[in-house]
């Protein structure tokens, strides 16, 4: 298993470099640069001389291929560069934001797993039944509701009308602040997990080995736990890994809406101010999270299902 994990980690390097290259190219071709964003408020004037100085300071007046070579060179030594806005190392900004982002992602994932998996499982026990119908309504709604709108509705309902939770902010680690953003972020993966779990359980329940297990006289609870749930878990886990990407992407919207101090809100501000080193670092970090989570998922799948062998 260990060689597999190491191989996957090594394989991640070209993926990260490809993403870095893509982001670099994107921000090289879209209009606007850091210097000109400084006058976006219509109040500040940044004259040509200042623009030239800023571009020299940040190395933006070099040809694109030189800039890219410099960037990759630094990246290979784990130097993420200096933020144009703060004039501080990018790593400082990331370190400030990683923990809140992870908190939110984990809470959203826990919510999605905690509700979505049992819901899908129960729905599969009686296909076409009341619970199945209800769970599918939840699933379809969850997948189709825009996260921004859902977040606002949660704010109105649970903060403004019921007063159960604060509508925004990070608090001092108080979990009450985490509830609404986590739910808003977790609903879409919840819906998908519910549907996937239902389909996986239904498929496994009709498999020959389940019929054999029942024929051997195993109790229904044992069949469900040891044969159905375990085999369905592999499919659900794989979906879970892929959904982590959707959670990290959704965090960009949700963090801004709820004034949550994570990587997502940092990314939004950095994009609008063309703070390219920070944008590149944020995107790389999000991709890295995604790759690591999927490696963990693969390992878990192998642990759950002995048929899966990684060499």
């Amino acid at each position: 298993m260990l060689p597999y994990v190491i191989r996957r980690l090594i394989q991640s390097v070209p993926i990260l470099l490809a993403v870095a290259g893509l982001v670099f190219v994107m921000f090289s071709v879209i209009p606007g640069d850091f210097a000109s964003t400084q006058m976006a408020d219509g109040r500040s004037v940044v004259d040509a001389e200042q623009v030239a100085r800023m571009n020299t300071q940040f190395g933006l007046d070099d040809p694109v291929h030189i800039r890219f070579a410099n960037y990759v060179g630094k990246l290979l030594t784990l130097d993420l560069g200096t933020s144009f806005r703060t004039r501080q190392p990018v790593i400082n900004s990331l370190l400030e934001r990683i923990w809140p982002s992870l908190q939110l992602a984990m809470a959203a994932m826990l919510f999605a797993i905690g509700v979505g998996v049992p819901l899908g499982f129960l729905a599969a026990l009686k296909p076409g039944g009341w619970l199945d119908m209800q769970s599918m309504i939840v699933a379809v709604s969850g997948l189709s509701l825009p996260q921004f709108w859902l977040g606002l509705m949660l704010m109105y309902g649970f903060a403004l009308i019921l007063g159960w939770f604060p509508s925004f902010g990070y608090g001092d680690g108080n979990p009450r602040y985490l509830v609404l953003p986590a739910v808003a972020l977790g609903v879409a993966p919840l819906a998908l997990l519910a549907r996937t779990t239902r389909a996986a359980v239904l498929e496994v329940m009709n498999a020959d080995f389940v019929r054999t297990a029942r024929a051997k006289g195993n109790s229904e609870a044992r069949v469900m736990r040891w044969h159905v749930a375990r085999n369905a878990a592999v499919i659900v886990l794989t979906t879970l890994g892929l959904q982590f990407g959707s959670i990290m992407g959704g965090a960009v919207v949700i963090e801004k809406l709820f004034a949550w101090p994570g990587i997502g809100s940092l990314l939004v501000d950095s994009v609008s101010l063309r703070d390219i080193p920070v944008v590149q670092a944020c995107i790389l970090l999000l991709v890295l999270f995604f790759l690591i989570v999927n490696i963990i998922v693969d390992v878990l799948c192998a642990l759950i299902d002995p048929r899966i062998k990684y060499t």
């Binding site: 879209i30 209009p31 606007g32 640069d33 210097a35 000109s36 964003t37 400084q38 006058m39 976006a40 408020d41 219509g42 109040r43 500040s44 004037v45 940044v46 004259d47 040509a48 200042q50 623009v51 100085r53 800023m54 300071q57 806005r85 703060t86 004039r87 501080q88 900004s93 400030e96 934001r97 809140p100 606002l152 704010m155 109105y156 903060a159 403004l160 007063g163 604060p166 509508s167 925004f168 902010g169 990070y170 963090e255 801004k256 809406l257 709820f258 004034a259 949550w260 101090p261 994570g262 809100s265 940092l266 939004v268 501000d269 609008s272 101010l273 063309r274």
Partner: protein, 530 residues
Amino acid sequence: MLKKLVFTTALTLAAFTLQSQAQEPRRGGTIRFTAPYAASFVSNDSHVSNQIQDEIYGYALHRTLYKWDSTNNKPVLELAKSVTTSADGLVHTFKLRDDALFHNGRKMTADDIIWSYTRLMDASKNYPGAAYIRRIKGAIDVQNGASKEISGLKKIADFTLEITLIEKGEPGFLFRTATTSILPAKEAQDPNFFNKPIGLGPFKFVEHVPGSRMVFERWEKFYVAGKPYADRLLISPMGEAAARDVAFRNKEIDVSILGPSQYVAYQADANLKKGILEVAEVFTRNMGMNPTYKPFSDKRVRQAINHAIDADLIISRLVRNKAYRATSWLPLSSPAYDKALKPYAFDPEKAKKLLTEAGYPDGFEFEWTASPNESWGVPIVEATIPMLAKVGIKVKVKPVEGSALGGIVAKGDFQAYIWSNTSGPDPLTQMKCFYSKTPRSACNYTTFSNPEVDKLIDEAGATDDLAKRNEILKKANAIVYDEAPVWFFNYNKAVLAHQPWLHGLQPNATELALQYYEDLWVDASSPAAK
């Protein structure tokens, strides 16, 4: 109409002055402010960012040589008790306060101001405040590396500072924004200083949770006796208007800046309506026309555009009356605002006639660069399309991202653009944006050139008599209005909603979100009164 607007503005100022006089300020409690222009603050260093978002916290932590007097709409001395100016109007000698203490208890001296201003000219850092400091004699030499000291800054004594400017002008307009904050010279050189910065402001820094909040507590030794009133100040960056709306209604924040749709909703609500502060800000929304695009080189075409668009209709329907009709470049709150000027009348027939005279009887087509902004972007352009079509002008919209607009305009890469530009508070500085020698990149975006305007601006700059200067600038403003280098759309009406327990807000026409927190106080009905 204009009289009514001026009267309303005056009434707002008077009402706020009376309100603050009528109630005895209460000490204690927490002010829960919001910074509405982004999801975070850039850093703990006020010199680094020129964004209003960062200035919002800068007003709590720092002080500048001058401050903005919102009631009288002019800069006033803050860190100095008096100033004398030489006969040539270039040398200003400041008697500094001897009671201004940094948050570590050390007295501010002239050295701190000299160090702070010199820091701003560090070319390797490109601090935005350098744009102001470079007006001090010798500042550019520091920026160019030719000198380590600004020759125009001279310490006469610990509390006496001489500043020599390179040209005449009111120094109050240069040294009042948080980008020119005074930092403690010795302490600020510590590499860890900005982890927990200190300043001269009414509140001490407690913590910054990036992307979430900045927390401050009262500086007991602030030099204004009895101020600040509140014990604590909490500023939350909240870039999403909808989220601010919920938080405000939920009484989690004390203020919120409103956009046009929220403005309508708040006005319709009997309770929320009571807590609305409106100010004519010094921003003029306009469509700039590039004279290198042939049709726009003709004054009659530019005037025709001003006549062809029904600006009043757009202001009432789309901007929801959250703006005042522009009657020239200098806005209502400018000391050189010209009440005599009337807005271009909506008159399509006159527009057609002007176009015919200019050689465009069948109109022409142009590309209009616009950002998505709801008050001065694509939605406004779309509303003008059928109006311009009626006089034969076809518009092709070129949408661009808000943050890219400035760069595009400064490079001249447009036929027309729509933007909201500052038009104050200093009328002389603003009119220089129509001075022929001012390059496009330094705010003369339409490369306006008119010898008569140049002459008047030179004259205004040469006079020491403020009233006379304003009269001269009015004349220049009137010529610009007639030349119509832009479509004069509106002046921003900034709207701030505040909770009934928050008092002492200032109608700051330079930017309503910028408040001097030492004047704010919360009464006992605030949820954060204790």
